[in-house]
Amino acid sequence: MARSILLVSRAVSALCLTLLAALVVFDAQAERFTAGLTPAQFREQLEVELLDEYPGVLGVAHNAGDDLGATFEAVAHDVDAVEIDVRSVGGELHASHDAPVPFVDTLFFRGPHLEEAWEAARLSDTIVLDLKESSRGYLERVRRFVSQRRDRRLIIQTQDAPSLRILRRTVPWAQRQQLIFTAGQLEELRNDRGLVAVLDGVSVRDRLLTVGVHAWLEQRGLRTFAWTVNDDRRMNELVERGLDGLITDRLDIMALLAGRRDLT
């Protein structure tokens, strides 16, 4: 018995080592047989009807505005929109996902100014501002900033409902979206008709966006964005359902969302 186990295990090990070696040697060819599809392969697998659906979805480069290099790269990939996380540091607006360290933030914080991020993304038609704070002073700074730059379509998203109510009054031209991180927040939204009336759309964590939730949002005329969707199959599923905005790290898919067919 022990000898049989040993022999079978050795054979399996040898096979696996051969496969691993093949993946190293035939790296480019291996893509076709693994889950790593090139954009061109991805496009080939799409149903024709779905291929026509993709350009209707707004492709948002996830957090690309938080780093100028990433912003330039996103713009180079023809993204529909650049997402920028907005924080206030020392009374100035910066682009940063992570909160600065308290007390020493003005000394050590190195995130780009919001103005720099905005300028870096100037070839993008749409900017998605993700508000990370909610104080009155902060919202006023954001209002002043965007009021001076009405050159592009602006989407503002935050998980703070009172901020969205204020923004409806102070920045009426922007599209307002409620950020949904948890099932609890989703439930709160379902029970708050007043908030639904204030919103133009919602930006939902991907795993919370079930068929039922999507249908509920659609019935209320809310535009639906999902984040962060990097899986090809999930993208197809959501696009087929009629998603409005896809927040993703997959810059290679952006050309498809922009309506181009020349993916490589």
Partner: protein, 70 residues
Amino acid sequence: MTGARPVTRRAALRQAAIAAALVAAVLVVGSNFVLVEVRLFGLEVQLRLGWALLLALIVGFAGGATWSRR
């Protein structure tokens, strides 16, 4: 002339565990074959996510094994 060495149950199980680990490695690499950029202290290298995961696993395992022997 001597016959084949007897195979102990322990040796067979160890070989089976190695085989299982290798199967897992093939599955991990195969299903995470997208090209990603890995950055560390200013260094930037492009490699398959599966290889990066495997490398991290091996380095972590080796580090843990070394530490436990001290």
